[in-house]
Structures are given as C-alpha cells and as structure tokens.
Amino acid sequence: MATVFFPTLVRQQTGGLAHIEVSGSTVGELLIAVEARFPGISKHLLRPNLAISVDDEVTPIGVLEPVGPDSEVHFIAAISGGN
Amino acid sequence: MKAFDYAAPASLPEAVGLLASQPAARLLAGGTDLLVQLRSGRKQADVVIDVKKIPELNEITLAADHSLTIGAAVPCYRLTDHPAVQAHYPALAEVASWIGGTQIQGRASLGGNLCNSAPSADSIPLLIALSASAHIAGSAGRRSVPVEAFCTAPGRNLLAPGELLVSLHIPAPAPHSGAAYLRFIPRNEMDIAVVGAGASLTLANGVIAAARLALSSVAPTPLFVPAAGDSLVGQAPTPAALEAAARLAQAAASPISDMRGSAAYRRHLCAVMARRALELALTRAQENH
C-alpha cells in the first residue's frame, strides 16, 4: 500500500489525519481511494499551485505517475524561481 | 521633458544679454543636476543657455599669491588633475573627485554645485571653510558675495533674475593652514552626504589663529557655524578643543529625517564629521610649512 500524505491545511478535511495508506498503481488511482474515504478532498489536492511528489521527486505528469507499494505521495507547493 | 531651445553664448556680455531677454532660461554648465531636474519635471525651461563656451567661466587661475579663481563651469576633473590645485588646495582636489563618479566629474562643476544650492552639496562646506567668494555678473554689473551667503533655501540662492555665477575666488591660504572636507555616506561612492563637514584651520605659535567650519545636509542650506571656528581661536589644537568645536557645530544643526538618514542620526554624525574634518585640517596645517 502506498502512503498519501496530506498537506497540513488539508488535514481539516481528514479530521487531522496526516497520511493514509491506500492501494493503486498510479497517483490517480490512489486519489480515487482517498476521495472515497474523504469525499471532496481531491479538489484541495489537485490545484495548479500544488505539485505532486512521488518518492521525493516532483512529477511532471501528476496523477498519471505510477506508484509502487512502498511509494510516498506528497502534495507540495509548486516552486518556480527567480534567476 | 518639455521642448526647449539651446544657446551657447561665446562671451559673458552675450550670456548676460540672453539671460535678460529670456525669463524662462536655465543655465547649463555640467548639466548633471539640470538635465535630471528638467527630465523629472522638477524644473522647466524655454531655453537652455550653455555657459561652457564663455572663456571666463572655463578658467582655473592660480595667482602669484596662490589665491585661486575657478570658472563656474570648470568641470571637477580639471581641479582634481590640476597640479597646483593638488599642491595648494588638496582638500579641493579631493572634494572634486568625490562629487558623483568619474563620469559625472567630467561634466559637473563647483559653480554648478553652488548654483544648484542643495543643502547636501559636497563642495559648499569646503568653499565656506576656505572663505571663498562667488563672483556674479548681471545686466546691472558685477558683484561678489561670500559663499556662505549664497544659498537661501533648498535649491534657492541669491542670484537675481538675469544674473549668473562667473567664478569662485579663494583667497590665498595662510602659512600653516589646512583644510578638509569629509562626508558620511553609506556607500563608498556615488552617494549623497548624509552629513558633510568642511573645515579650515590656521596655526600660529602653537595655537589656532583662525578656523572655519561648515556642514552640509543638516539645515535648509549648507550651514556655516562661525561659533565653532571662533571657539578654537587662541586655543591649543587639543582633541578636547576640536571636540568642543564640533559640538558647537552639532548644536547649530537642524537636520530633518528623510530617505538618506534620520534627524537623530544626522545630529549624531554632525559632531563626528565636524571633529574628523577639523582633525584632518589640523594635520594638514601641521604639515603645511
């Protein structure tokens, strides 16, 4: 089971839960499981300003990114940058 | 910038005549203040009169007694590079190398610095300390005023309509005299004095025979503080005496707070810069036989 971590401010939707273990072969599949547990949470996670990090790498393909059974998924602020 | 005409008279009478006939004229020497002011809209002109072609305004003349006449349009670099100025007026050569940067010094003049009449002008406290006078020409003739009387308010001076500054005259330095100008700026160059101090000091028989002190950026005009210099006359040049004179200068200051420094900071700096300028003037006086 992969672990999906919730950003601190999204934990209002999870009753304070910081992470959850769910099954799936892509981030998208994991999110379907997460949404089933916390209806409406996806719109707080899938925002243009949030990047999806799988196993500590920001993925450019978002919900299409494959995950393994030990994967960690984070939703982190998208960084652009200045020089 | 609004449109204007340009004239470059070749003689003083021609310039005076032009000025008299053109009420909205502005004089251009180095242009390093004027063009910025015209571009920003702070000043307007119908005609800009370039005074650099007038011979009298372009001369540096060291008389036999070492008194110095500086044409109002002489750019700073010519003072810095002038061997006689370096020899007899080291503080003047120095201040001319501090106004703006290298490029600005290719254009800016002490005459322009005086006529711009900014409270922060670097050269004015030194000119006051050196007892310089300003030679003025107008349709009513010529006159001469001490530099300390020249500025009347920020950006204002006693030039009447139709008058222009011809030259600055500095009397011959006394034996055993020295002068200095020091300014405080947060950067090391290209900055406006938060506080500046000009000092001159003459020694005779181990005591101070004469002293003059003036400050910049601490009052609506460059500030001559006669009491500070007077307090030193007849005294031995001790640190305590210099410090006391500096305190008198500080007491005379009425600084404001702005983007370049708070009133409290400026007031603090008055005493520091005045004392340091006196110290350097003293060192030079002691070296000047």
Partner: protein
Amino acid sequence: MSAKVQVQTTINNEPVEFLCEPRQSLLECLRDIVGLTGTKEGCGDGNCGSCTVKLGDRIVTSCLVLGVEAAGQSITTVEGLAHGNTLHPLQKAFLENAALQCGICTPGFLIAADALLQKHPQPTEEQTRFWLANNLCRCTGYDKIIRAVQAAAHEINANSGAAQ
C-alpha cells in the same frame, strides 16, 4: 517641439552629422538617430554608467549630455573600441575572464575602463574600483570585471614593452 539643430561631430573617428531637438540627450542621439545602440540606458540620471561614452578627452554619462553640446566634439562609443576585427585588449580580457553576464553594463564599463588605463596604465585594485564606481553591475559582484581590467592592463603594458 523646438526647431531641430544640425550637429556635426566625429564619432568613432568618422565624421557624423545628425539632426536633433535640443532636448534630446546625446544618448538618444547616438541610439535613435545615429543608430549606435551599443551604448545603453540603465537609469537616465547618470547613476549607472551604462551610457558612458568618451566625449572629447573625458568619459561622461551620455544621458546627462545634450546632443547639441556634442557639436564639434569627438565621441568614442563601444562600437569604436575594436580596431576593425581585432578586439581591444579590454574586450578580449572581458571575454576571457567571464567579466560579463547579462552584458547590459558592459559597453559602459569598457569605455570607462579604457579611460582608466589611459590615465593609470597599471591601476591598483583600489584605483580601479574608485574609477569604475560610477558604473553599476548587478550580475557579477564586480570581481571578474576588476580582474579583466587588470589583465587588459598587463597585456597592453606587455605589448607596449615588446614594441619598444
């Protein structure tokens, strides 16, 4: 609009005549009328040095000179530094020392440094920094610019020594 004025100058050793309004700066005249856009405008008030040109025997910020004032004078801009296809030692030293990043301040630095080396053929670091203080660079922290000026001075002196 005031009547335009015909101005005769020598720019980079070539006679150049241009027609300008009295309010136009030398910088505008060089860039917009003569077409020499190598000289840059960074501030318009003489504080960045990007528009530095040599006017007569002195460097000036051309934003603070009127075009009409240049009448009868000779002007050197960055376009006039190289001899044909041979770069000036300063230009070469700037390239070899990576003394430019964005390059916008470079023309002004080159003209100012050229004047420095004419006054002080082997300037100290302090002299170099003091002379160039009217030229702002925001990319390099000045380190490589100072090194490039010193390298160019060495090269010029070595060559002039060899020629003697």
